[in-house]
């Protein structure tokens, strides 16, 4: 027995020794920069616009810089990255409202000088006034792309036109509805249906009752966009809650599907670029963000199937019918309630409410 323990100890100490060795080797890397070329480190989702090889190449050539592109798997992970990285490790990141207030308050981001962004003026006005993006008059996050979660239906099988969120509570569609399995969307949608403020609902109990009433009308709750697309294509469901981006993709695949922003409003989200505090390349960081909201990049991406651009000059070049139906115009933006920051307590409460609805 003693011998076994000895073996374990030797192995553990060997393991930790190699681990230390690796760490020491790694530490040297970022602090030995290539003097000719600066490095810009950008944290974003994988396959989300900014890591496109063409885009990277264009920017790298234009500004004589090397882009390093680590990925994040969740907003929470990005927050952890910001907290644990050393100053100068990261330059530009893509937070949304769910972590922005925390990141700003903890001093993890540095203010953006909007005067340095030639394209800032072209951003739709409502996006410049998102509460989570600023603090004490300073702008910390620049909107990049956005989208909405609203109602879709099959115009061939559902008697339309539908213009109200109450359609999801309409017994005429019983067994053909697919609501989304997501506590945030569920609570916000029920709040819209009840005329409450979706970001700050006044009566959670009424919301719970409303969602319980909706439950038996569903065929299922969907979790991933792909899951909904399959059920819709197979005719299992023909009305539901859906994302604008996924709907556009389904249209491109030839699905006959109609996207409606209900008269009561709908849920909206925005992804923003922010500059990390302690960056060694503030100029480059601003140039990168400006490049990301430039008409050229935004137009290319939306035409390749990307989310809705914030640059209003891009919308003007798109097919007006498509813009109208997918709700990409300023009129739609005014009808959306953008998902605001929620405290952990609030999230816990909403999640529990949704769980109670699902297991009612």
């Amino acid at each position: 027995m003693k011998k076994t323990m000895l073996g374990v100890w030797i192995a553990v100490s060997l393991l930790s020794a190699t681990a230390c060795g690796n760490k020491a080797a790694n530490e040297g890397a970022p602090s030995s920069p290539n003097n000719e070329k600066k490095t810009l480190t950008i944290v974003n989702w994988k396959g989300y616009g900014s890591d496109d090889p063409e885009v990277i190449k264009t920017f790298e050539t234009k500004y004589n810089v090397k882009i390093v592109h680590p990925y994040m798997a969740s907003e929470e992970e990005l927050l952890t990255k910001l907290r644990t990285s050393k100053p100068g490790d990261l330059d530009v990141v893509l937070p949304n409202a769910s972590i922005l207030p925390v990141a700003i308050n903890d001093g993890l981001l540095s203010p953006v000088d909007t005067a340095k962004l030639s394209n800032y003026a072209a951003i739709y006005e409502p996006f410049k006034h998102l509460a989570e993006n600023a603090k004490d008059g300073a702008v910390y996050a620049v909107p990049w792309v956005w989208g909405s979660t609203a109602i879709v239906y099959n115009p061939d099988t559902v008697k339309g036109p539908i213009d109200s969120v109450q359609a999801l509570w309409d017994t005429a569609h019983k067994g053909k509805i697919a609501f989304r399995d997501d506590f945030n969307d569920a609570v916000m949608t029920a709040a819209l249906a009840l005329g409450q403020n979706p970001n700050h609902p006044s009566d959670l109990d009424a919301i719970k009752q409303k969602l319980i009433k909706q439950k038996p009308l569903n065929r299922t709750y969907w979790k991933t966009g792909d899951e909904f697309a399959k059920l819709y294509a197979g005719g299992t469901v023909d009305i539901g809650l859906m994302w604008s981006g996924q709907t556009a993709a389904m249209k491109k695949e030839g699905q006959h599907i109609k996207y409606v922003i209900p008269k009561e409003g709908a849920i909206g989200w925005v992804d923003n670029w922010a500059i990390v505090k302690g960056t060694r390349n503030p100029e480059l960081a601003h140039q990168f963000i400006d490049f990301m909201i430039d008409k050229k990049f935004q137009e290319d991406w939306v035409n390749r199937g990307g989310p809705a651009p914030v640059n209003k000059n891009v919308t003007r070049t798109l097919d007006p019918a498509f813009v109208e139906e997918m709700g990409l115009d300023e009129k739609t933006i005014g009808k959306l309630t953008f998902i605001s920051y929620r405290s952990d307590e609030e999230k816990k409460k909403w999640n529990e409410l949704w769980l109670e609805v699902k297991s009612h």
């Binding site: 076994t4 299922t220 709750y221 979790k223 999640n351 769980l355 699902k358």
Partner: protein
């Protein structure tokens, strides 16, 4: 003997580093209160037992798991019995056929079941062609039945293999002795074969019941609006709302249930052996 124990050290180190230590980290999380400066508390465990909904979901999960275990046993025992006693060639091929689905991911198999069970899906078409059902679809998808079918499909091979192994070890001389003492085939089975294969049945039940308690993929994809189980609560806590502390507490309660059920099952095995 003393020297050979060294051979275990890679496994022991792996277990220590990647199983025992993380488990203790999880215990720590489960005892931590929420907020940036958490303190030690039993609140997460209290929350679980105070709110009816978590107990309700746990009970529902246990019921589903019992169903899956029982059905797996009823399917697997005859299959293993036939494979041991009646099939002389091609046994390995059959075993391979049972193991092959293991090479496909659980998620893919759940989606495959969705295609099989949906209205106008493959099962509907087949049954209609055989005139077993009319034009009305079966409507199995998005019901608890769909979840149980998919779970049985995923877990029953464990049961077949363990029962097969224990049946194969049954000494044929004992069966012949029973016959020569005028016992009928049923009596022989009940008094000789069944008791001897009990260890395989118990191991099989554990191997099916335990992972059944933790599933969340099949209920989510096939269960429809009634698909909530306790495994999904844990998944939500870790991936949706970052409630690691509560999620860890629920995991430990599930672990306790698992250990308890294993104790009960192995006690059952010992009693009769």
């Amino acid at each position: 003997m003393d020297k050979k124990i060294w051979l275990m050290s890679p496994a022991v180190i792996l277990l220590l580093c990647f199983c025992v230590v993380p488990l203790f980290i999880m215990v720590y999380y489960s005892l931590l209160s929420d907020g940036t400066r958490g303190h030690l508390t039993l609140q997460n465990y209290a929350d679980f037992f105070e709110k009816r909904i978590y107990l309700k979901l746990t009970w529902k999960t246990i019921r589903i798991s019992c169903c899956v275990t029982l059905i797996s046993l009823l399917i697997s025992y005859p299959m293993a019995y036939v494979m041991v006693n009646l099939i002389h060639s091609g046994k390995n091929l059959l075993l391979l056929a049972i193991i092959i689905p293991f090479w496909t991911s659980q998620l893919v198999r759940a989606y495959a079941w969705q295609n099989l069970l949906r209205e106008g899906g493959i099962l509907d078409i087949m049954l209609r062609k055989l005139h077993l059902i009319g034009s009305e679809p079966l409507g199995l998808l998005f019901t608890p039945y769909a979840v149980i079918i998919a779970m049985v499909h995923i877990f029953f091979p464990y049961m077949v293999i363990t029962i097969y192994l224990s049946l194969e070890k049954v000494d044929i001389a004992l069966v012949e002795a029973s016959k020569s003492l005028q016992a009928g085939p049923l009596t022989t089975f009940r008094r000789v074969v069944l008791p001897l294969s009990k260890p395989g049945i118990v191991t099989g039940c554990i191997l099916v019941f335990v992972p059944s308690l933790g599933v969340f993929v099949e209920p989510r994809i096939l269960g429809g609006t009634e698909g909530s189980v306790i495994g999904m609560v844990i998944e939500d806590q870790f991936f949706e709302i970052y409630g690691w502390n509560f999620g860890a507490a629920v995991s430990f309660i599930l672990l306790a249930i698992i250990l308890l059920s294993m104790a009960v099952l192995s006690r059952l095995a010992k009693k009769e052996a």
